[in-house]
């Protein structure tokens, strides 16, 4: 009798999202047992229908101190909208070797008594070799489903990254973690180039500047400015949140790379304060970078754009924000032509941005081109 009670409790805690420690060598077997029990075998918890759903594998690599809780919460939010097998792989240095695993279900009630569940596997490695961790993670990937590798680390560590990216469809990074470290973008661009299309790379920071890209595109579509102005741009000033000594942020460089790529501007020699280009007809174009203090925008976030035509400011895009929301407001030289044009996502959670990534089935060619161009603009140290 007591064994039945404890069995019930184990399934219930599994379904409630509580981490259940399992033997690293028996992760799959334990998961299968939990799902079988939850589906109505011995120890099934009540009358609720439990449906296990999975549309992709999501592997998060992190060494953050609070990863077990914080990263787990983010994954929970992601799988609520995108059923997946989520693998949280924590890799930390340590004097003593430790390799442990936990499993949990991430269930969300649909209707009165139907639970839609994803599963999360947490693998913690401390003081282990990278291969020890990857040898546990890779066999856990569900076959025939895309693998999204979320590299939540500020640097690329080849020994850990290489075997994982070999099985991934997409590598997701976030250049906002080191917003002024241009080497991160350089490494990413190099990795993309070397991938030969075997996997795709994306940057959550690129998603964050989507609002700026759309606002600029819209601004030149007849209101407030006609498209002809776009081809007469002579200078753009990009302001971003940062201290006086902070060089161009990753966001500013990505936006510059995007503009140059779309408008077929050829980059000249790079420097820290500005990028210089030649337009298709040989006219010089400059993008100047300016760090500014900002109350709400995270470091490196773009906060304003000024577009100059024949050295006169005609179009300004400004971020107007509070602690909760932000929107881009465009205005031309006459203040009465001020127009709210876009909400931006710098308050968007990581889970929201990851959700956007996993909804995109193919490569983001525009990002990849923008990254390649941005890498050519990086100031040499």
């Amino acid at each position: 009798m007591s064994s039945v009670v404890s069995e019930k409790t184990a399934v219930e805690s599994f379904l409630s999202g509580q981490l259940t420690q399992v033997d690293v060598a028996r992760i799959e077997r334990e998961l299968r047992k939990f799902w079988a029990d939850a589906a109505g075998g011995p120890g099934a918890p009540g009358a609720n229908t439990v449906i296990r759903a999975c549309t992709f594998n999501l592997v998060m690599i992190t060494s953050e101190d609070d990863a077990e809780t914080k990263a787990g919460d983010v994954l929970d939010e992601v799988v609520a909208h995108h059923p997946a097998r989520a693998i949280l792989a924590i890799y930390r240095p340590g004097k003593e070797r430790r390799l442990d695993a936990w499993v949990s279900a991430r269930c969300h009630l649909q209707g009165a008594n139907k639970q839609i569940c994803s599963e999360q596997i947490t693998v913690l490695s401390e003081g282990c070799k990278p291969q020890e961790l990857t040898s546990v993670v890779i066999p856990l990937l569900l076959p025939d489903l895309p693998v999204f590798l979320w590299w939540k680390e500020p640097t690329m560590q080849a020994e850990l990254l290489t075997p994982l990216k070999n099985v991934a469809r997409r590598l997701i990074v976030d250049s906002a973690r080191t917003p002024f470290d241009v080497s991160f973008l350089a490494n990413l661009a190099r990795m993309r180039e070397q991938s030969n299309g075997s996997f795709w790379v994306t940057d959550l920071n690129w998603r964050r500047i989507g609002g700026w890209c759309r606002s600029l595109a819209n601004a030149f579509d007849g209101f407030p400015l006609d498209l002809e102005y776009l081809f007469r741009l002579s200078k753009i000033n990009i302001s971003y949140a940062g201290g006086a000594s902070d060089g161009p942020s990753a966001q500013a460089l990505l936006l510059s790379g995007w503009l140059a790529g779309r408008l077929t501007w050829q980059p000249g020699s790079p420097n820290a304060a500005s990028s210089h280009f030649k337009g298709p007809d040989g006219t010089p174009i400059e993008i100047a970078y300016k760090p500014v203090k900002h109350d709400f925008a995270p470091p490196g976030s773009i906060v304003a754009l000024e577009c100059l035509f024949d050295d006169k400011v005609v179009l300004t895009l400004n971020l107007e924000c509070t602690a909760d929301e932000a929107q881009i407001v465009a205005s031309t030289v006459s203040p009465e032509e001020r127009q709210e044009i876009e909400s931006v996502h710098f308050h968007a959670s990581e889970a929201f941005l990851i959700g956007q990534e996993v909804e995109m089935p193919g490569p983001d060619r525009v990002f990849e081109e923008s990254l390649t161009t941005a890498a050519k603009l990086l100031p040499r140290k």
Binding site: K114, G222, F367
Partner: protein
């Protein structure tokens, strides 16, 4: 003469298509009606929540009822909270959204009624940056369509201005598009006097449903189905649209329309065309609509001398639905006690082309049926040699063939029925259903049909809207039945009890071919 190239905004490339709609004003004609409250405003608010409305977008509601802008906003806000139950109402977002809503009280029949609209739209072009693009949604009774088109033309609102990037007017027309072939052709001609076909969006909300859109994806993005999708492997196709509700206070409308006009001519035949069309040469709207029109033209005309062999009509009597007693159709408000209007139709269709020759498409639609469900089921041919049916006492054989079901509502999804061995030492076979459910597989909210269709119209994508030749083809098929029914009164109306699966003749239609409706 070489044409000057159209200037394209290079910054648009790669920006999510979801965001790429052009600025415009949406003018809802008949803004005080149920369609606006229940469907259109919730759809527009949902698009706003998802950031899918273009910049420079505003809404103008227009109807005869006197109301201020503020009263209109208030009324629409209440409707959204009442009807958009799958959306979280965000007061802050609503206030912003409502700020772009305006109202104009006007009489659609009178020319002067549209002069204030033209002036308001001019002002909004400046205020919101709509660029003079106007999207007119006819949410009025169909009897007003021609008048409205005339008034739009007279006020200059429906004229496409010259120039490559000139502002556009578009018009969305709700069903029913005509009452028969002649009236549909007349309405079409009327609209085409003013609008080009590319500016006309005939809405059929069935085509906005995820599963209906998924029919093409399932067929043409997978390699395993299309080789079987023909007369060699498909025994028959069954399409069922069953409603448990009655006429819901729309007795007056239904008396005029009936099930054949209300459901079969548009929704059901659109479904048939999606299931049976040939692969389009591209995903371009015209390529898709070419194929749909082509297959509709291949449908074998009904033999009006022997209509009963392929068409069944029915009308519900009183009965029980989910434990509730419900009245007969003839007892519904605004319905004649001697009404001969059909509330149920079953058809046997044939598509006379290479792919579908002699494969029957059984289509049924009705009100007050046993269960609310809409689905398409592809019934495959049985195995050529029934290896197991003899040894198992015919159990396997009696259970029917492999069936692929496309569930359209209430749950959207796909299921495939196949045979497997039951675990055990004996060779016991068992039917299993492999189910895919949109709600559970993706864990995200599916957009409503109106969300998708209104958004498509803002984008100018007509793929999911009916084209004039398809409308003509469907009326050509249906009109002889209507004419025949008008001449001959039904003999035994009402002929099915509410809460059943329709009249016995519906079952007999398939039994005559040695088949039966899929058990639902």
């Amino acid at each position: 003469m070489s044409q000057s190239p159209v200037l394209v905004n290079p910054l648009r490339e790669g920006i999510s298509l979801d965001q790429a709609g052009e600025p415009c004003a949406m003018i809802i004609l008949g803004a005080h009606g149920d369609l606006t409250k229940r469907k259109l405003l919730p759809a527009l608010y949902a698009l706003c929540q998802q950031g899918l409305l273009p910049p420079g977008f505003c809404i103008v509601g227009m109807s005869r009822t006197k109301m201020t802008d503020e009263e209109f906003r208030q009324s629409m806000g209440e409707s959204i909270q009442k009807y958009a139950t799958d959306l979280v109402f965000d007061k802050q977002l609503w206030d912003k959204f409502a700020g772009s809503m305006y109202y104009l009280s006007s009489n659609f029949g009178k020319e002067e009624g549209f002069a204030p609209l033209a002036k308001l739209l001019k002002d909004l072009e400046q205020k919101h940056g709509t660029r003079g693009n106007n999207l007119f949604y006819m949410a009025t009774p169909p009897s007003l369509y021609e008048d409205i088109v005339d008034r739009l033309a007279e006020s200059g609102l429906a004229q496409k201005r010259p120039g490559e990037r000139a502002p556009w007017p578009r018009i969305i027309v709700e069903k029913p598009f005509g009452r028969d072939l002649d009236s549909a052709a007349k309405l079409d001609e009327h609209i085409h006097n003013v609008f080009q076909e590319s500016q006309v969006f005939r809405i059929d909300h069935y085509l906005g449903k995820e599963t209906v859109q998924n029919i093409m994806i399932l067929r043409f993005a997978n390699s395993i189905f299309e080789p079987l999708w023909n007369r060699h492997y498909v025994d028959n196709v069954q399409i069922t649209n069953a409603e448990t509700i009655g006429v819901e206070g729309r007795g007056g409308y239904y008396e005029e329309a009936g099930n054949l006009r209300d459901m079969i001519q548009n929704h059901m035949l659109q479904l048939v065309s999606m299931v049976s069309m040939e692969p389009p040469i591209s995903m371009d709207a015209e390529a898709i609509r070419d194929e749909k029109a082509k297959v509709l033209r291949c449908m074998r005309p009904f033999d009006v001398k022997n209509l009963g062999a392929s068409v069944v009509r029915g009308q519900y009597d009183n009965g029980f639905i989910l434990g509730q007693e419900v009245p007969a159709y003839r007892k519904e408000p605004s319905v004649s006690p001697n009404s001969n209007t059909e509330t149920f139709t079953a058809l046997k269709l044939f598509i006379d082309n290479w792919r579908w020759a002699d494969v029957p498409f059984y289509v049924r639609s009705g009100k007050r049926l046993a269960k609310a469900t809409t689905e398409v089921s592809i019934q495959f041919k049985r195995t050529p040699h029934r290896l197991f049916s003899e040894t198992l006492g015919g159990t396997f054989g009696n259970l029917g063939p492999n069936v692929l079901v496309l569930h359209i509502q209430p749950e959207e999804g796909i299921s495939l029925k196949f045979v497997t061995k039951q675990p055990g030492t004996a060779t016991q076979l068992r039917w299993l259903s492999m189910d895919f459910n949109y709600g559970t597989a993706f864990g995200v909210r599916s957009p409503s049909a109106y969300e998708r269709l209104v958004h498509d119209c803002i984008l100018g994508d007509a793929s999911l809207f009916a084209r004039t030749d398809a409308v003509e083809a469907s009326w050509s098929l249906i009109t002889p039945i209507l004419e025949n029914w008008a001449k001959e009164s039904p003999k035994q109306f009402p002929n099915y009890a509410a809460g059943t699966w329709g009249p016995a003749e519906s079952d007999a239609l398939l039994q005559a071919d040695g088949r039966s409706w899929r058990q639902l």
